[in-house]
């Protein structure tokens, strides 16, 4: 605890105070204002900075012998009762004499005390939910942390539901989020560094990592990139993601975001860096590779057979979501020889009355599907489901009956849509939705050759992409076969001994459990 020095007693007439105020107010930039020894002056200065603001409270406390004190806080950011109980009451009770000796230690009963030498710091502290105390004669402020932000309680994550696994999700409160992580990873090596981003919002971003596991260059890159950020207001993790990711023009997301503390912990334990942002329940995990977006936390909580099968299935559905409409268009307009005869007759028969070429039909259906999906998401939840039912069943059936679209196209579009829902990361699923359209266009002009070319271009792009220095397609390219055991498919636990070697290389041993000898067998 900081040593407090007893200041000299000063007495000033009201005139003098006014003079002093005036002289300081002439200086327009308040950040250059200093701390006066008179609490009244300081009170006026705060008022000057914040007014008009109905929520700003500056309460005067009167002590015997005419000594004055002031307690400043934002009424909406703190719990007034706590301020009363822990700050004002003790102050009044103990009097100024005791106060100067050990104001922080004994008088103020709150746990977190800080000392500010600059007015600017005190202002920042006030706006982030702190309480400032000043008593005549002090040339510093005392800050008491008693924040009372409105916060949502910990609930189940909405965006990442699962059947088995912890149901806690992050909230908008940074302290809670940090606690959710820390309670799962109780090592002293778990470090967290704070950074304020946003000139006006001053949003706290917590950089969490496990010392000894984290790759130093990744950590350094993260810090460097964050330091260079100069924005006004940081509201959501998405802004931070865009500002620090490697290639912001890439359609592929390069940073995983999650609402699940267990996912963050798993990432930290692999040597990744987690960024918790105040005010949003989404944490960022860097570096992230392509396969991270194809994983759900539940993969690790189910039996490995099932998880491996599901992961392979997801790879297939990724390709389905990306390519099936294009392949359908290419094959039906250019390569009819590829379709088995009976299927060809069926498709031709189904398409017999349709007035549009296949590609127009495909675009019509895909776009209307996207419209329906968007409508379903934007509308209030009870109405949303009604829209999707009306859209999918009624409009779809009517369009087929009227002969505007063919049944095979409805099947293709529905299959594609459902396949894109199986991708666990919503941002990756959006990527496939978006990329589908240019590929469809190229497929309609160049056939399967066009699809091959588009795939090659996408392949080149993702292979060239990096996430904080880690190649985006690891562990497939460059090849790290050891990491396939836990990253691409899922081997039994005994075989998953190492951490992914593309994240960091200095501490790879993760699990040393040996297969248990069966009892009675020697």
């Amino acid at each position: 605890m900081t040593e407090f020095i007893k200041p000299k007693k000063v007495k000033r007439s009201t005139e003098k105070i006014e003079e002093k105020m005036q002289e300081k107010i002439d200086e327009k930039d308040w950040s250059k204002w200093g701390i006066d020894s008179s609490s009244e002056v300081n009170k006026k200065r705060f008022k000057n900075i914040f007014d008009p603001n109905t929520m700003f409270e500056a309460r005067e406390v009167l002590f015997p012998k005419g000594v004055k004190g002031v307690v400043c806080y934002f009424d909406d950011l703190v719990i007034s009762a706590e301020v009363n109980e822990h700050v004002i009451e003790p102050l009044v009770e103990h009097g100024p004499e005791a106060m100067f000796k050990d104001l922080g230690e004994r008088v103020i009963t709150s746990k977190k005390i800080r000392q500010f030498e600059k007015l600017k710091d005190a202002v920042d502290f006030l706006t982030s939910g702190g309480t400032i105390v000043h008593v005549d004669g002090m040339n510093y402020f005392i800050g008491v942390v008693a924040p009372g932000f409105p916060a949502r309680s910990v609930t189940e994550p909405q965006a990442e539901p699962l059947v088995r696994g912890p149901r806690e999700g992050f909230t908008e409160k940074l302290q809670d989020n940090s606690a959710l992580v820390r309670k799962r990873l109780r090592t002293p090596d778990l470090k967290s560094e704070e950074m304020k981003i946003g000139r006006r919002s001053k949003t706290t971003v917590l950089i969490m990592y496990v010392d000894g596991l984290v790759a130093d260059d990744v950590l350094k890159t993260v810090k460097d990139r964050m330091e260079k950020i100069d924005i006004d207001v940081l509201i959501e993790s998405a802004q931070l993601e865009e500002l620090i990711e490697d290639d912001m023009f890439s359609p592929f997301p390069q940073i995983v975001h999650t609402e699940r503390p267990d996912k963050v912990v798993a990432g930290l334990a692999e040597g990744r860096v987690a960024l918790l942002i105040d005010g949003t329940p989404f944490a960022l995990i860097v570096p992230s590779v392509f396969y991270d977006f194809m994983q759900a936390s539940e993969d690790y909580y189910e039996r490995f057979y099932f998880s491996s099968a599901i992961r392979i299935l997801r790879m297939i559905t990724f390709l389905i979501a990306l390519l099936v409409p294009s392949i359908y268009v290419a094959v039906t307009t250019f390569h009819q020889e590829l379709i088995p005869s009976p299927l060809l007759y069926t498709i031709i028969a189904a398409r017999a009355g349709v007035p549009f070429p296949v590609v127009i039909e495909a675009f019509l259906m895909e776009i209307s599907f996207e419209i329906l999906r968007e409508a379903g998401v934007r509308l209030p939840r009870p109405v949303g489901s009604a829209v999707s039912i009306v859209g999918a069943l009624v409009v779809g059936q009517a369009a087929v009956d009227a002969g505007i679209v063919s049944q095979p196209m409805v099947i293709v579009v529905a299959l594609t849509g459902i396949a894109s829902f199986t991708i666990p990361a919503f941002n990756m699923s959006m990527t496939t939705r978006l990329l589908r359209f240019p590929i469809m266009f190229i497929a309609a002009t160049m056939g399967l050759f066009g699809i091959a070319v588009s795939l090659m271009l996408i392949g080149l792009h993702v292979c060239a992409l990096r996430s904080f220095g880690v190649p985006y397609m690891s562990p497939a390219a460059p090849l790290h076969l050891k990491s396939w055991k836990s990253e691409i498919v899922l081997f039994p636990f005994f075989f998953r001994r190492t951490r992914p070697e593309y994240i960091q290389k200095h501490d790879l041993q993760k699990n040393a459990t040996k297969p248990r000898q069966e009892e009675g067998k020697k």
Binding site: T332, F334, S341, Y345, I347, I348, A352, G403, T445
Partner: protein, 402 residues
Amino acid sequence: MNKTKVFFLIVLLLANVPFLSACGTTSGGVSLRELNELNVVMVTGIDYDNEKKEYVLSIQSVKPATTKGGGISKESVYTAKATGKTIMEASKNLRASTSGKLIWFHSKSVILGGDLVKSKDLKEVVDFLARNREIRLTAWVLTTHGKATDIITAKPNSEVTLGDELEGIISNQSEWGKATVLTLKDVVNLYENPHQGFVTGHIVQKEGIKEGKKILAIEGATVIFRRRFLMHLSNEEVKPYHLLKKVEDREPEMIFNIPLEKDDNEEELNTAVKVEVKDRKKEVTFENGIPAISIQLNMDATIMETGTEENLRTDQTNEKVLKEVTRQIRNHTERLVYKVQKEKNVDIFDFSGLIHRKEKKYWREHEKDWDQIYPEIPIQLSVDWNIVRNGMITQIKQGEQQ
């Protein structure tokens, strides 16, 4: 070049992409064909008009119209016919009387008419079929003694389209053993071979059960040697052909009927034995400088039906059955080998290829004399039996009465 320039260059290049589709031709590149326009050819028939010296191309095609649940309705099946100096010209002339874009990708069978096979060199036909990228090498090649047009216009018996009907009949050949149909690929491989002939199916129209209704059936096979028709094989003659040469991936089943005993009226009681080749070894040996070919067949037999009272479980009966089957097999093959080897001097069993592969030196020296050597080559056949199965029962007998 800065990034903006590269970006605009790429945009310009991409803007040209739609024009690529106009560059397509039927001989390669990209060519756009909308599904609704397609007229899918299912069977192709090629005839030759000897008087006008013209090829006649007839097709059966399908242009499916809206039906519930897909599939083909009878109304969407069409036939068309056109003539031309060349087959390609005839195929272009077809467009005068057909709507939609004709595509040959799904033409599963090609039927060669009798006049064409008997009077013409097949070079032009096979060349057309092989050169055209729309016709698949897996298409079946069939011959007929009459006009291919008659087969094309025939009414299928069990299927909606003739194409499906033919495919169904052909796919049954391994269940039957009395038919053999080659794919275009095999025909292309063999038709120019100066030492070997090839055997492919022969399709005819037959009287069906209903009076006046004709049905299609495979009847024997046609042997084509040095691009021309040589002889006809009957269904029974195709059986030993299958024994001596592996034609299909799956060896066909065949039935031999053997008389085991006679009933009271001195009529023979037959036993049907199903025979399947499991393994076939061919060896070339030399005797006095003349090659001899020995074929060793390893076969399974199953008794499928019998009129005999004998106990079929005993070794003696088995031996008797197998001896009789072996005798029949020998008879059949000897007759066929005599017919093709001695009478027609044509190698349809790939013996020349066998000698070529196994005795390269001999073949190099004697290839030119093959026509003289071939009829003199002795062919030995030995048959090994693996197992005799009796089916579900041993003998049907009246149970003991109590």
